[in-house]
């Protein structure tokens, strides 16, 4: 192990300080002084003053210092066989240190150097943060050096960089992991940061390296390609002009090697890159083109300096709209490519050339013989499904192709690809991404972006977040905002004051439109609070509940109230009446493609993932429908008919059932409290085969709703009256119903079998009719309050028969479609 001392007077330390002094203003002042001295000397000689020689000679001094700074002092490498800290410390830091620096001085220095600023911008671990946690005693620095040397050895670095010192300083603080948690990172992330920084250094060094591209002779050896230049994109030309920045991705190395092997040996000279959209097929073609242009690359001679052209299907179609014309043009273009001897044609999104459609044309008859002959080098890219479809239509086409499968990238590879892509995105969008933003983009894209594979989906998410940057900085928050805005969901932890208030008072808010059923209200409120505090299982729906109980007790109403109070309106409820899914074939309707049936469950949730999903009358669904729903309840995922994953992980799933309603009433009538019979009741449901145990086990909570009692029904009447008053508020009229009249309304409207459902109609009939009559007779005007008395209610409802008739109508409707109407309030 190297010595952990800093030799302030060592040659390297002195040079580092000198390099720092000669940097800045001097770096451009020295060449100017040199030029001025030479010019001045020459002018003196011109006027026959021999002192001009002296002036010219003196120009050597600033020139030498400038050269020394430029070629050595500025980037003084570490001493490989070095034994002290000053031998191994990065030059920009070494040049700023005092003789005996304390850890907090290191923190200050890190704020001045690029490598330290990298951690401030990318991780939020800036100089001030480090100064706050760093010790002020100089004797503590030895521990920092020891840790830095350890990290350097572990990562196999050539020198102790600013990043290494940042990590060493952080690690020296007791309980630093808790501290890092505040900025949403861990120790591993900081290590990733060091690697990221080293990778950027490597990319810059690679980019600065001179290219060997074959020069003039390369072009003269091969044919003219005017048509190809017109209808294709010359990747090789763009690369040789430095116009493309395609980074080498580990995930693509295997496919790239296969591509070189396919074209480097005999046999059919074609390759089909097959993989899901977003895996980077086109990027592989770019990397391939770049490799062919690199004279130092170990590739077969027959591939060196070959040019890769991507054919542009749209410009070909535009130039030759007629059927025969297009085939003719394609033949000419391909003939030109063949004659030129150095062209590799790429058909990006090759399905555009093999099927009829908007912007695509079936050229199988033209292309198949060329692909089968295998003399013209062709690369095709297409996604797996299209490849299979084309293979189904034309097996000989697939047989003629050398397939290379490109798989999706792993998390590490995706993050590396994002970091490479970042260089271009940051330059174009004029933003800076934090490391946390990249991690969040990966996490959220994995969950919400389903039309692309990794790394494409994460990169898409990352790029979308640029529009939500704050002061040019793209943070975790920007990524969350991007997905919240585009998908209309909530993904972050609740931080807004209003939202927190709402969550904490959820029960009270729901009870403003629901009477009692406290346990049910509490379990859904708790689920929502868990979700928005970020402590729930992310791989399941926010909550899955089964509400059991007789009709008219508020099961559906609770779902509606939840959608209204938290999800932003009753229209945020996706409602499915499962009595319409009683046949096995109905499974297809449940998961139908949105383009064919926008009312299917998957289509509605795909459109609106942040919602309440209400599965009404679940006991009536066909067992196959219930089996399909199992995965939804378990993993929060349902695959639609096109095998696309639809996420229910931002939804609350509520299933309701009237099963066993009679048994609940029996228990209540026998004087049991809900808590006393709930478990036994559920066991009875299982043993009566109404629900399979594995289905019931999938729910987070099974809540039994009890029938409402008469005192509670008075409160229901108050809620109904509040609704009526809300409607009348437009006319500046209000209604007040006397207590004994309310009691009468309960007596007339309550039906033990239908719960509170008929009551709304009874109340509406009694109150609204009275109001209507009084308004038309001119007895009331704006600003009036209509008092409704017991007698008026009795008169309007007439005899018991009137109320019974209303109840009977309600009963009939309920029979037709139970629970389709609203709940008690």
């Amino acid at each position: 192990m190297e010595s952990v001392t800093l030799n302030y007077g060592s040659m390297r330390a002195v040079k580092a300080r000198m390099g720092r002094q000669l940097g800045g203003v001097w770096s451009w002042l020295l060449p100017i002084i040199t030029l001025l001295l030479v010019a001045g000397g020459v002018m003196l000689l011109l006027v026959e003053q021999a002192v001009g020689w002296l002036v010219i000679g003196m120009a050597a001094i600033p020139f030498m210092f400038h050269q020394w700074h430029k070629h050595e002092l500025k980037e003084l490498p570490p001493i490989k066989s070095g034994s002290t800290i000053d031998d191994l410390l990065s030059i920009d830091i070494l040049g700023r240190l005092s003789k005996n620096p304390a850890p907090n001085e290191l923190a200050v220095v890190l704020g001045e150097v690029q490598s330290g600023q990298f951690f401030a911008a990318r991780f939020g671990v800036g100089s001030q943060f480090l100064q706050d946690i760093a010790a002020k005693e100089a004797d503590k620095t030895t521990l920092i050096w020891q840790e830095a040397l350890k990290i350097k050895e572990e990562l196999g670095l050539a020198e102790i960089t600013g990043g290494v010192l940042v990590v060493a300083l952080v690690r020296a603080f007791p309980g630093y992991e808790n501290l890092l948690a505040h900025v949403h990172i861990g120790d591993d992330d900081l290590i990733q940061g060091i690697k990221w920084q080293e990778h950027i250094k490597f990319l810059i060094a690679q980019h600065g390296k001179p290219r060997r591209t074959g020069g003039i002779a390369r072009d003269w050896s091969f044919g003219y390609i005017p048509l190809l230049t017109r209808f294709g994109q010359n990747l090789s030309d763009q690369i040789s002009r430095g116009g493309l920045l395609s980074a080498d991705l580990e995930a693509h190395t295997q496919a790239l090697d296969q591509l070189i092997e396919t074209f480097g040996k005999g046999g059919r000279q074609n390759a089909a890159l097959v993989g899901a959209p977003g895996v980077g097929k086109t990027t592989i073609v770019h990397a391939f083109a770049e490799r062919l242009l690199d004279a130092s690359a170990s590739i077969p001679e027959s591939l060196k300096f070959r040019q890769v052209f991507i054919l542009d299907s749209s410009s070909l179609l535009a130039a030759a709209p007629g059927r025969g014309e297009l085939e003719n043009l394609i033949m000419q273009v391909l003939g030109e490519a063949y004659s030129a001897k150095n062209i590799i044609i790429c058909l990006d999104n090759a399905q555009l050339f093999f099927e009829e459609g908007v912007g695509s044309v079936d050229l199988t008859n033209v292309l198949l013989p060329i692909l089968e002959a295998g003399s013209l080098r062709v690369i095709l890219t297409m996604d797996e499904q299209r490849y299979l479809q084309i293979g189904q239509r034309n097996p000989s086409l697939v047989n003629a192709l050398n397939r290379i499968t490109v798989g999706p990238a792993t998390k590490e590879e995706t993050l590396a690809a994002m970091q490479d892509q970042l260089i271009v995105t940051e330059f174009r969008q004029k933003v800076t991404y934090t490391y946390q933003a990249l991690q969040e983009a990966y996490r959220l894209s994995e969950r919400y972006v389903h039309d692309l594979a990794m790394p494409g989906r994460a990169i898409k998410m990352m790029e979308a977040a640029a529009n939500y940057s704050e002061s040019g900085l793209v943070t975790m928050n920007s990524v969350q905002k991007a997905i919240e805005q585009t998908l209309d969901i909530k993904v972050g932890v609740a931080s807004d004051e209003d939202e927190r208030e709402k969550l904490l008072n959820m029960e009270e808010l729901i009870h403003r439109r629901m009477i009692n059923q406290s346990r049910a209200v509490a379990v859904v409120s708790d689920a929502l609070r868990r979700a928005r505090a970020g402590v729930r299982n992310q791989n399941r729906p926010i909550g899955t509940f089964l509400f059991l109980g007789p009709t008219g007790v508020g099961k559906t109403e609770l779902a509606k109230a939840l959608a209204d109070v938290y999800f932003g309106g009753e229209d945020r409820m996706v409602r499915l009446d499962l009595n319409e899914y009683v046949r096995s074939e109905d499974v297809a309707r449940l998961i139908a493609d949105g383009a064919d049936d926008p009312t299917s469950l998957t289509a509605q949730v795909m459109k609106q993932p942040f919602s309440v999903v209400l599965l009404d009358e679940i006991e009536k669904a066909h067992p196959n429908v219930l089996t399909t729903l199992l995965q939804l309840l378990d993993e929060g995922i349902l695959r639609d008919i096109k095998n696309r994953e639809v996420s229910f992980r931002d939804a609350i799933v509520i299933a309701t059932s009237n099963a066993g309603a009679e048994r609940i009433r029996e228990y209540i009538e026998r004087g049991y409290q809900l808590e006393q019979f709930e478990k036994q009741f559920i066991d009875e449901l299982i043993s009566s085969n109404q629900f399979r145990p594995e289905f019931l086990n999938r729910f987070d909570e099974i809540v039994v709703f009890r029938p409402l009692e008469k005192p509670e029904l008075i409160q229901v009447i108050d809620l109904i009256l509040a609704g009526i008053n809300k409607t009348l508020a437009l006319q500046k009229i209000s209604v007040n119903v006397a207590d004994d009249a309310k009691q009468l309304l309960v007596d007339k409207g309550y039906d033990p079998r239908l719960g509170a459902r008929p009551m709304r109609r009874v109340v509406q009939r009694a109150v609204e009719n009275t109001v209507a009559k009084q308004m038309l007779s001119g007895a009331v005007g704006p600003g009036s309050t209509i008092e409704i008395t017991f007698d008026q209610v009795q008169q309007i409802l007439g005899s018991q028969t009137e109320a019974d008739a209303i109840a009977a109508r309600t009963n009939q409707q309920v029979g037709e479609s139970d629970e389709k109407t609203t709940g008690p309030a």
């Binding site: 002195v14 040079k15 020689w53 003196m58 020069g215 003269w220």
Partner: protein, 127 residues
């Protein structure tokens, strides 16, 4: 130490660095003119004009042969010119670069030489 550091770099890593830069410059010029590739493809048809195989009778074959011959001769002539131009460019870079490397060695002496020349009072156009 300050001057020593500068001089030890100047006549050590600094001088070697200039030599490496000269080598790099020559390699880059060589790549641009690609003389080795020009030589290897010296008699190839210029830009593949009339390079393809032709089907047909003897007269068609003869015409194609002569077309190809002309294409090859034109190609050879153009390549010859480029080889000459390239060689000159490389030679020019080599001479200038070598001169610079040699001069590099005498730059530290320039102040002393300048003092001497100033004392001597010699001015080239004042003979």
């Amino acid at each position: 130490m300050f001057i020593l550091g500068l001089l030890s770099w100047w006549y050590g890593a600094g001088w070697r660095g200039r030599l490496a830069a000269l080598r790099e410059k020559l390699a880059s010029t060589l790549d641009y003119f690609s003389i080795d590739l020009l030589l290897r493809t010296f008699f190839s048809p210029f830009r593949q004009i009339s390079a393809g195989r032709v089907d047909g009778g003897l007269n068609v074959q003869m015409r194609a042969f002569f077309d190809r011959l002309i294409s090859r001769i034109i190609g050879a002539m153009i390549r010859l010119v480029m080889i000459l131009v390239g060689s000159l460019a490389i030679a020019f870079h080599a001479v200038i670069g070598t001169l610079f490397v040699i001069l590099w060695g005498v730059v530290p002496l320039a102040p002393i030489v300048g003092i001497g020349m100033a004392i001597s009072g010699w001015v080239p156009w004042n003979l």
